[in-house]
Every structure is written in C-alpha cells, then in structure tokens.
C-alpha cells in the first residue's frame, strides 16, 4: 500500500483493528502477565501485591518489590505442567492432521460441485453451529456411553463382542475435537480451492502431467494459503481446548486448559493459573510470529 493515511477516515480504519487488539488482547494479557508475577493470598483479589496508585511513587516501588518469578519456578518443578503442555500439543497436532486429511477431500469435493449446489453445501458445513456447542458435546457423551448408540451399532454388526469403553479416553477427545473443528478446516480450504482456476489443471494435463501428479504439483501448492489458515484456525484453539477434554476425556492426564481451570477454580491459585496461561500464549505466538517473519523474508527475496 503506497498511499499514506491521509484523511481522518483512513486513519480511523487503520487504527480500529489495532485499538481492538489493544483493548481485548493486549490489556487483558498484561493483566494476566502481572498476576502471574504475584503471590497467592486469601484476599480479594486473591493475590498480592496490588498496585496502589494513591500511595504515589512509593506505592509503585512496593508493588514492584512484591513481584516474583516463583510461579514460573513452580511450572518447572512439577511435571504435571510439562505433561499437560505436551499432551495438549500432541492432541492438537494429531487432531489437526486428522482434520486436514478429512477436511481437504470435503473442501475439494465442494469446490468441484456444480456452482448452484455449492452455496447449499457451505450452509450444510456450517449447520452444526446452529446448535449450541455444549449440547453437541453432550450428545457425543450420550453416543459414546457404554450402552450408547455407537456400541449398540458395533454389537449389532458383530464388530465387537464386548462393548468397548470410549468415554474418558483420548479417542473420545479426538472424536469430539475433529467433529467440532471440521468447519474451521473445511471453510478456508474451500475458499481457496473454489477460486482455483480450472484452466491451470487443464494446462498441467496438456503439458503431460497425469491427474494425481497435477494434484500434487498444482492443486496442493496453490491451496497452501488455505491449508495454513485452516491449520492455524484449528491448531491454536485446540491446544487451549477445555470443554471437550473435560466432558469426553479422562482426568488422569489433563490438557493444559483443564490444568488452568484446576489452578483457577480448584486451587484458587490465580497467579499459578496466570503463569500457565502466559507460557501457553508464548508457546503459541512465538512459532506463528517466527513463521510469519520467515514467510515475509522469502517473499521479499523473490
């Protein structure tokens, strides 16, 4: 963009997204960051020190002196935290991969459907959103019960002789996550595949490229922005997912969202919960920023 922000309107439209991010991301994050350096206390709010601006410069000094890194040391000392992080990353990575494998063919099929049907298909993909997310997860609890519909079906088909346990397993978490996040994978993929110029595929065939190879050499590279968008849209929220593992998964190896909840509501330890959350944000934001930076660099070079 070469034009300078001249008019008031232009400045406003440029400033608006930043203002939004500052108000609803940066400020809350700084508050959480501050709490993470505090100590737990039986008080209201349940941590110390509290910044007392009425005491002037001395108040600020007292406040700064009260901050510590103790909560972060705690994260290192108890393997519970490390294991929750690893479990969250593992579940997020695998379920995103499964989502990509299921979502890509769906999006591809949608994009190849006659145009007048495509709008209907998009609505169908979004249809689950019309029911509350929580109710859908409760429905899965019902389906996955010991004597639920899934086991009844498997027994009736003689796939299994004794009903397997689904609930409180990682499999149930995967089922819930893949089911819930599929639209977030399908829609960005569909958006790029739908715009893919069909004459490019014909050109590849014309130049001697068989279909499967054209898919690999043309379709996949050209849909990579959609793949990236879908992966980020799924991966990041799944890492912090709380409801699905809490309702469908077991309690033995919690995901990081459950750990934060436990610290916050179970132990009433706001500072420790904040520290866990801050590390989580850093864990997610750092690779994204790094990736963006590398992408920009390679863009500039070409």
């Amino acid at each position: 963009m070469k034009n300078q922000p001249g008019s008031l309107w232009q400045r406003f439209t440029l400033a608006f997204p930043y203002a939004w991010l500052v108000a609803f991301f940066l400020v809350p994050f700084l508050i959480v960051l501050k709490i993470s350096f505090s100590q737990g206390a039986i008080a209201l709010p349940p941590y110390r020190p509290v910044l007392d601006l009425t005491a002037g410069w001395r108040g600020i000094e007292m406040f700064l002196a009260g901050l510590s890194l103790d909560n972060y040391r705690l994260l290192g000392s108890d393997s519970l935290y490390l294991l929750s992080y690893l479990k969250s990353l593992q579940i997020a990575a695998f379920s995103t991969l499964i989502l990509l494998i299921i979502g890509y063919p769906i999006a591809y099929g949608m994009a190849r459907t006659p145009r007048r049907l495509q709008a209907v298909l998009v609505v169908l993909v979004m249809l689950p959103f019309w029911t509350s997310f929580l109710i859908r997860i409760y429905a899965w609890m019902n389906i996955l019960q010991r004597d639920g519909p899934l086991n009844e079906l498997l027994m009736a088909l003689h796939v299994v002789s004794t009903p397997p346990v689904w609930l409180a397993t990682d499999t149930a978490i995967y089922i819930g996550i893949v089911y819930s996040y599929l639209p977030f994978m399908v829609l960005p993929l569909y958006a790029v595949l739908e715009k893919l110029d069909e004459s490019l595929l014909e050109a590849a065939a014309d130049l001697g490229c068989p279909r499967w190879k054209t898919f690999w050499l043309v379709t996949i590279p050209l849909s990579s922005p959609g793949v990236l968008a879908g992966v980020l849209l799924c991966l990041i929220p799944i890492v912090g997912e709380f409801v699905i593992p809490d309702l469908l998964g077991g309690s033995r190896a919690p995901m990081i969202g459950q750990t934060i909840w436990m610290e916050f509501f179970g132990n009433k330890d706001w500072p420790a919960a904040s520290a866990v959350a801050v590390v989580l944000v850093c864990l997610l934001v750092t690779p994204i920023v790094l990736f963006q930076h590398l992408a920009m660099r390679s863009e500039e070079r070409s």
Partner: protein
C-alpha cells in the same frame, strides 16, 4: 473493417505446402459435440496439413474453442473421430496427446517462476536435467525473455505473460500447437506486432499451428488457410484471399469484411443478373446457374466507384443520395441510399486522388463497378 487491399494481395501459402494425402497431419471426421440441447460442433470434418498455420474463425459461440478443446482432449466428442498421424486420439487422455494448447487466459502456474513454467512440460517427459535447462534457456531466448527467468508470472506484463505461455507450449515441440485467442488479451499495438512474431516463430520452428480467433484481420494476416465456422459447422475452408475474393455463401461474404448484396435472377445469357435493386447487373464470367434462378451479386465496398456524373458505361451503375460518411483516416465509407431505399456502402481511399472529388452528406452521387468486381453467390 478491412484495410486489406483485396485486388493485389500476395499469396502467402508457401510453395512447399502441398495439400496431398502424404502431408495430412490431423484428420477430423464427422465430429459432433453437444452440451445438453446445444450443439457446439456439428458433424464437422477437416484436414490439417503438416507445417500449416490454420485459423478457425467465427463469431463467439460458433464452436471454434470447443473444436480446439476436443483436439486437446479436454472434451469428449459425441460422435466422430480425430486422427493424428494416423492414430485415433479417442482413447488418448489429454496428458498423452502430442498436441499442446495455449490458453486464452495463458493459465500460467502462479506459484512457479517463468523458468519452472516453461520447464514443467519437459519435466513430465522425464528428460535429464541438463537437457531441460538447455531447452528452456533456448526457448526463453527465442521469445526474448532470457532475463526474466526467475520472475513469477504476477511480476510480468501482459505481453510477457503471453510469451511465457507460448514458450511453455513450444518447448514441448508439439505435433500441433493449438492457440485459443492468443492475442485477445493484448492491446492493439502489441497485438499487431505479436501477430508477425507468431508467424515468424511458426515458420522458424516448422510447427503446425491451429489458432482460434474471432478477429478476421488476425486470421487473414497469420493464416495459410482459414476455416470459417458458424453454429458448429465449417462454412468455408480456404486461403485468406480466396475467402475474401470468392466466398461461397452470403454468410461468409457478409462475415468476412463488408459486402453489398443485390438479389436478382440469372439472365438468359448467364452474363447478367436481372431485377436487382440496381437494375440489370453484368458480370464478366458466365454464371454457373440456370437462367431465372435467384442469385446474389456481392460487391465489396472498395470495388465500388463514386462519381458526381453518370459514368459512360450504361450498365452496373446506380444513382443515390449519401446518408452517412464514416471517416477512418486512410479511407472513408460512404453509405448511399439508392432508389429502392436500400443502402450501398462504398469505400474510397483518402489518397487525395479521385479527382479531388469528396462528396458531402445529402449529395446525389453515382455508384458504379466493373463487371469483374462482383461475386455471384447462389446461396
């Protein structure tokens, strides 16, 4: 439109271009393609010869692009055969056909560099790296893009993209190169120069080109032969000068260039047509039709003379009033209303000649033409 001088056009067809059986490269037999109720190509037959530059010309929707796509294999015919080098192409998928197509949109791969785009087809053939690099470099030099090999298509101008698309097809050395409106996306100046470059390339490489165009001057300039298409059928296949000078029907005569038509009946001497809007019209050669049958006398506007006074010859002249004058710079088109109310178009070259005679609107003038000028059309 035509700024093409009709009378003394040099024949372009190269002397080596024989049209015998031995040089036949592509044979299309009774080819039909329907889309639902719409027949895009209708029982079409055509032979294309080795080394020729063939143009498919027709209005939009006449089926010319569909014919090209049938040859490339992107559409499957409902009936008929396409035979290349004696091999029926029906079972051959597009990626195995020894033909290449240059798309109207160019269809360059946006994620690949110019070099990678041009190399794409050679890589599919599994050629050694060194050979691919050499052929790509040679081809980029041929289309004068050697300095832009590492750019992406989005960083090129329209004219450069067109060259990349051309290079990408040519580097495969196809038996037939199919070009779908290759110059349509270029601006006029660039289009004019690129036409001649295209002809040079074709001659230099000795390849067979089949071009689809709706632009008749383009077809006339580049092609050895033109196939004029309408509603899925070939109306006439001939060299450009023949199509212009001896169209085989009113439709072709009207589609190619401008024409004045006078309907009448063949005279008893077969050297005249009677009862036209301009009276009795004489022609130089005997008409190949029975006396009294209805025919049309077709005269190109540039073959009609304009004069203030009645010409000395008693026949092939008619008086009228000028209704409109279209000034085109190099020539002017006069629309003249004659006695029966119809309009006759006459093109006069603005050479300062014509005895300095340049009539104005609403003036009365005489129109005349030589007996050699008209074409007699029976359909």
């Amino acid at each position: 439109m035509p700024s093409v001088e009709a009378g003394d056009r040099p024949t372009k067809s190269s002397p080596t271009l024989a049209t015998g059986d031995s040089r036949r490269l592509l044979r299309i037999e009774g080819l039909s393609k329907r889309f639902g109720n719409f027949t895009a190509v209708d029982r079409l037959s055509l032979d294309i010869y080795t080394g020729e530059f063939f143009a498919l010309l027709g209005p939009s929707g006449c089926g010319k692009t569909t014919l090209l796509r049938l040859i490339a294999g992107f559409e499957r015919p409902n009936a008929g055969r396409i035979v290349l080098d004696g091999v029926d192409l029906a079972p051959v998928p597009p990626h195995r056909r020894p033909v290449n197509m240059m798309f109207q949109s160019y269809a360059l791969f946006p994620h690949l560099t110019v070099e990678a785009n041009v190399a794409f087809g050679l890589k599919q053939e599994g050629l050694p790296r060194g050979e691919i690099a050499g052929r790509v470099a040679d081809m980029l030099a041929l289309v004068k893009l050697e300095s832009l090999g590492t750019r992406k298509p989005s960083e090129l101008s329209g004219g450069q993209r067109q060259r990349v698309a051309l290079a990408r097809c040519l580097v495969k050395r196809p038996r037939v190169l199919l070009l779908d409106e290759p110059l349509a996306a270029l601006d006029k100046k660039l289009r004019d120069s690129t036409r001649f470059e295209l002809m040079e390339l074709q001659r230099h490489l000795g390849l067979t080109f089949v071009i689809v165009t709706h632009d008749q001057s383009e077809a006339m300039i580049v092609a050895d032969r033109i196939g004029v298409m309408d509603r899925g059928r070939l109306m006439q296949v001939a060299a450009p000068d023949e199509i212009y000078e001896r169209p085989n029907s009113r439709w072709v005569a009207d589609f190619i260039g401008d024409i004045n038509l006078f309907e009448g009946r063949v005279g008893d001497d077969r050297l005249s047509v009677e009862g036209t809007a301009a009276g009795r019209l004489r022609v130089a050669a005997p008409i190949e039709a029975e006396p009294r049958t209805p025919v049309w006398i077709a005269v190109r506007p540039e073959r009609i003379r304009l004069s203030r006074d009645k010409p000395p010859e008693p026949e092939n002249c008619v008086s009228g009033t000028i209704v409109e004058i279209g000034y085109l710079g190099d020539l002017s088109i006069y629309h003249v209303r004659i006695a029966d109310g119809s309009r006759v178009k006459a093109a006069v070259a603005n050479t300062g000649g014509n005895g300095g005679y340049s009539p104005r609107a609403a003036e009365s003038v005489w129109l005349s033409f030589a007996p050699e000028a008209p074409i007699v059309l029976t359909r």
